[in-house]
Symmetry: C2
Subunit: 322 residues, 2 copies
């Protein structure tokens, strides 16, 4: 797919991935509504296969490949959810997945990727080492590179969560997603703009990794350099395919402090009794600011994932696993 | 209500509480199915109002009262979910709740009960002190005592969770609930026996608080004396109203070690991305034993509640709240 995707590609993706992924539930929570002074509809991608929305884009990309293309497998670089998602999608297709991971990736993430049957290639934790390792893998194996977000097949797949949300909850005033590399945000924005033109799409981003905020306002991509935020899924910077879609369809980007992210995450755990990762909680963090633009509105929130190391929680110090 | 309840009373309770409580979702999890070698349907009462099934019985009891009876409020003793549930139900009815709590009750539980507007009366942490304090409260205020479980109105209310489960998931082979005082178990058992006579009802109980197991096999109530288990909702002993119903309708009681409870709780958090309390996880703990009676069966599990102190998790040592 070389042309910018439209709602047609999102609909095709939805059909393609339907046999594999969950249509996740939409939950509400009266106490969070009261706290945010808004009516919030949480699309629970933390309940998704492999624990995050990433399986949508990965599955769409993997099943878009011709048999000939798919023959030698798929490869990616990822220290997180995309690696696990691509491995699972490849297993469904019956092809080999290769995942390049930094050698300092947490054990829990290595375990998830290995558990889905991927061959892991470790590299030094730098951008250059990662790209070199990936190039070597692709070179040696003939695997197809599936980028975590800067890929139209992936973007179309990620848009399917918003497609389901708009079908289940009509007349939303706003849809909020987190933004890291922009795959979920751009897919969501293009889907929502087609399905519900009056609905604004707004992104939530960690203050400490605010490349999307700065890029959005500058009109050019300004990448973050190794940003340090607890929202480990949002440390990446926008890509040259996601950025134009975001400029075209996204209304605003709101930044959230680290403390705001942790507070929001704990509130979701406490009040909704569901487990979300910091990258998902940044959305509620934005709403908890009670900015005037959210007041009294019907707001769809994409809770992007729930992959957390339960032995290390941000509100507990000095954790020692038993 | 002085006669033993039947499915008629459970149906009436369901109508009575419908405007107030959630019809909670039923979730499934393919990896837990694989691990237990069974097909499990989790009825998520952790998503219920006030975080547990207890609101069903409390609401039924409170709304069964005549205006005259209700005039002076309701009272109970509880260090846990029933106190919060009764307080919330009383708020809905617009009457005053009094809750007797041991002075060593955890801050998080006091906060929940107070947060729903109850007047808390603290007592020494002994059975005698608790009963004396309660009698004094009832005497001074004229409030109606609503027992946490040994009350037919409460039992009928608790049975409504199983009523919903049987309506949503037909042809279950087994339904499992935790057992503490037996309110949920007896209500579930009488509902299931009427709605789906072929379905067996089985209870799961902590080994360290196995009064129901021992009473069930002895044929007389043998209370536990201050049992020490992480499943704080299951430290109570059977009552003289719950025990006969359990003898009549329950097929078996399975006990689970403390380690088994914690393992099950963590698995539910990790795999299902939902928060359950130890008392709820004892059910999966029973299934993880892979006893032959569960093999290949369609099993309904009532996940009874999700009220956990997130700063103190059983798999994390030396926790210090930030």
């Amino acid at each position: 797919m070389t042309n910018e995707p439209t709602i047609k590609e999102v609909r095709e993706a939805a059909e393609r991935i339907k046999p594999f992924v969950h249509c996740t539930p939409v939950l509400t929570c009266s106490s969070l509504n009261r706290m945010c002074e808004a009516e919030i509809f949480f699309k629970c991608e933390n309940f998704q296969k492999a624990g995050a929305f990433k399986i949508r884009g990965a599955t769409n990309a993997v099943f878009t490949l011709t048999n000939e293309k798919a023959l030698h497998g798929v490869a990616t670089h990822s220290s997180g959810n995309h690696g696990a998602a691509l491995a699972l999608a490849a297993r469904w297709r019956g092809i080999k997945p290769y995942v390049v991971m930094p050698e300092n990736a947490p054990q829990v993430k290595r375990g998830a990727v290995a558990g889905y049957g991927a061959e892991i290639v470790f590299c030094k934790p730098t951008l250059a080492a990662r790209e070199e390792s990936l190039a070597t893998v692709v070179d040696h194996t003939g695997a197809v590179f599936i980028h975590p977000y800067n890929d139209y097949r992936v973007i179309s797949g990620q848009g399917t969560a918003a497609l389901e949300l708009c079908q289940e909850v009509p007349e939303l005033d706003i849809v909020i997603t987190p933004v890291g590399g922009g795959g979920l945000l751009s897919g969501t924005a293009l889907a929502v703009s087609a399905l519900s033109p009056k609905t604004q799409v707004i992104a939530a981003e960690p203050k400490r990794a605010d490349d999307a905020y700065r890029s959005f306002h500058a009109g050019i991509i300004i990448p973050s350099d190794n940003p340090d935020t607890i929202a480990d899924g949002l440390r990446t910077s926008l890509g040259d395919l996601t950025f134009p879609l975001i400029r075209k369809y996204v209304r605003d980007i709101v930044t959230v402090s680290e403390e705001g992210i942790v507070t929001a995450m704990r509130l979701i755990w406490e009040r909704m009794k569901i487990i979300v990762e910091p990258s998902a909680a940044v959305t509620l963090g934005a709403l908890l600011t009670k900015a005037p633009q959210f007041s009294g509105k019907r707001i769809g929130v994409i809770l992007s994932g729930g992959n957390v190391d339960l032995a290390h929680l941000p509100w507990i110090e000095k954790t020692v696993e038993q």
